[in-house]
Subunit: 433 residues, 2 copies
């Protein structure tokens, strides 16, 4: 792994996403789904997954009988994850404030669930049922009326039972058997079988990501912009190199474009190098035990080790990079945690590995990548609500505050805005006479 | 105004935004600002505003001396608005929850302000200083470190004193003398004088809107997608037609593409028409009193009156349209308010006119238009924070929950994720021996 002592912005830059090449393809897919609806989805399933679908929605019968085939032990583990995720997200319920900003002027907000949400679950080698839990549980807790899950069929035309089981116990209401940009288009614009949703969540490949961006500009909200997953692991001489190596590898196995950066905090460079050596040796050890090391090997080719001399320097590197996942496996991690301004999710101490949060501790694993932690939060219960403001103003309220509004509207040359107050004040004056 | 009895989706559709024609222009402007920085801004100011700028940032001296020229009465009104806006937004301070989801597994969120925000304030005929208050006050309350305000120079090269005064008392830290797509590009990518911001807020014309969309896909978060402003005014036979007319006009004066829809709730169609007649007569009356009726006249050409037979039908029309502003000037407005699922801001009763919320009641006036209320909230204190999740897991915590994570990661074929837990569990077992 590349070792860096003086970190430049270039060292912390993410590789550019080559979206230009997929933009046109995705635009065509979206247009096709908009105009042909279900028929386009059936076409694409045949073309991309070699599956002949008769319906794009999974029947409740098929759904329930497939879900029932999940092993008892996996069911127990999924239920445990569900309980923890529920506990953390339940605590996020919004408390709506009501303020009388002036006698007779009462303003409040009301949290209203997004009515129809679409959750995208990628296909591919592994069934990402944990993402079903992370998206559907808060959607259901918030009270979303319709929770649509879209996922591509496997080669045999079915959907993995663990995905269906997770969907069943998390409150998903509809399963759309479709993947890729076409699934995003179907959820955004609707088809004959599926009314459009209001907001789309979930990870995906560059076609899915591009499709989300395209619909976000015109039609349908999305959770956040997306890039490859990433971790920054911060250690010092008190840290266990075996744990750090495992954390680097658990990020690297996501795929060749996954980013793992190790930050070594050491009083002198020599100590820093020897800590780094120990972790690198452990990475090689553990890599050899993996049954499928291809992804991890490819990802590690661009992994980095940054050696810093102080906690302050570590904080600077963290905040310049704004990592999706940040593991602070240093002594007294709270000191460093207090200085974190930009990160998706932070893991403190030797036993808080990313895997725990990825699956079951309770925090959400849908997090801002690619530096978007500077402006976005990860998915939470908030993501499934809108807050509508309300106000009720009495005769007394407009009597005292109305003249202020008349002055301000007049100064902005918005005379009809002033008149809307004036006609009311005039009417009140008349009533008094 | 067009009268509608049976409302179709077409009646409630917004006209398509012709962004295609401005996309290329905006992309060129952004590229130009990215490569040339300040020099490009100075060029554009000369080309679009006929102003020769020497610096793109306003000096503190110029800022303060121009702000001081605001009249005492306007200062008092601005301060009053500031107080009310502060009171309502102050109550929105996030309370960060901390949950032990399992003994030894502690998860919490921390609200961290967005560090650098950019606020766009349009130029044009009127100085929109109220928008300065609506954006800068919550940014400052949230604790944003840098609050950049961008606004185009007037023809004489200056910025309106009311904008500068509002900025001064609301915590703005930097004034960028630039407007249009070039200002958005400068804030998103930074220039020699201005480091890039993390999130851009504020209204603008179609060039500004398109520029915000373009930077949102790659570089910088934005508050929300934008379209022309709109109001839906719901009345019944108890409502004052003069008030309703004033509310329609105060929306219409924003510009020719502004939307005003009147919903008349009446037991029978004939009563509905006579209520509508009374409002139309009042609209004409008040229109004649406006010094600048051009915008309102153009907007009213596509205003609509929808006659509905019940509160339930009114709620259906509201939720299908998802208005930015919703005035419920009906008898017992709470009944109808309870049924509102999609709206930006709701005004209840005869004295809660939109102008009050636009300027001074305390609610924010930056709201989702064009049906985006289905998925977006208006700007609030929340808009200026991110919530970072944290977790701290003890030996006990990983001991009990770790095996669940091993099962789940293995079922997702993510073996290194399982290993990250296993190496820790093994180390704990060894310690015990």
């Amino acid at each position: 792994m590349q070792r860096i002592i003086q970190v430049t912005d270039q060292d912390l830059a993410r590789p550019a996403m080559q979206v230009e090449s997929v933009r046109q393809t995705v635009a065509e897919i979206i247009e096709n789904v908009r105009t042909k609806g279900d028929a386009a989805l059936i076409d694409y399933a045949y073309r991309f997954e070699q599956v002949a679908l008769s319906h794009v929605l999974l029947s409740r019968n098929q759904w329930e009988s497939a879900a029932a085939t999940v092993s008892a032990s996996l069911k127990v583990a999924i239920e445990s994850a569900k309980d923890h995720i529920t506990r953390f997200h339940e605590a996020q319920r919004p408390k709506d404030e009501c303020v009388e900003t002036e006698p007779g002027v009462t303003c409040w907000r009301k949290s209203v669930p997004v009515q129809r949400v679409g959750l995208y679950i990628p296909g591919g080698n592994a069934p990402l049922f944990s993402t079903v839990l992370m998206l559907a549980i808060p959607a259901h807790l918030a009270g979303c009326r319709d929770i649509v899950l879209a996922t591509p069929p496997q080669r045999d035309g079915t959907i993995h039972p663990a995905i269906l089981y997770s969907a069943l116990i998390s409150g998903v209401t509809t399963i759309l058997v479709s993947g890729g940009a076409q699934a995003i288009a179907a959820m955004a614009y609707g088809t004959q079988s599926l009314p459009p949703v209001d907001k789309i969540f979930g990870p995906g490949n560059r076609f899915v990501t591009e499709a989300k961006q395209q619909v976000a500009a015109n039609q349908c909200a999305i959770d956040m912009p997306a890039g490859p997953s990433e971790v920054m692991v911060v250690i010092d001489e008190t840290s266990n190199p075996r744990f750090a190596a495992a954390d680097m590898l658990s990020q690297a196995e996501h795929g060749p474009d996954s980013h793992a950066i190790l930050v070594v905090c050491a009083a002198d460079t020599q100590t820093g190098h020897s800590i780094a050596d120990a972790v690198e040796a452990e990475v090689l050890n553990q890599l050899n035990t993996l049954k499928h090391p291809e992804h991890a090997t490819a990802s590690l080719a661009h992994a980095k080790i940054i050696i810093v001399a102080s906690v302050a320097e570590a904080a600077d590197v963290i905040n310049r990079y704004a990592p999706e996942h940040l593991i602070l496996a240093v002594d007294h991690p709270e000191t460093l945690a207090d200085q974190v301004l930009h990160a998706g999710s932070v893991f403190l101490g030797p036993y808080s590995c990313e895997s725990m949060g990825d699956y079951a501790s309770g925090t959400n694993h849908t997090l801002p990548t690619a530096g978007w932690a500077r402006s976005y939060s990860g998915v939470s219960l908030d993501s499934f609500y809108r807050k509508i403001t309300f106000q009720q103003i009495t005769a007394q309220g407009i009597g005292s505050l109305g003249p202020v509004v008349e002055t301000l509207a007049t100064a902005e040359s918005l005379e009809a805005h002033a008149t809307a107050v004036s006609v009311r004040l005039a009417s009140l004056k008349k009533e008094k006479l």
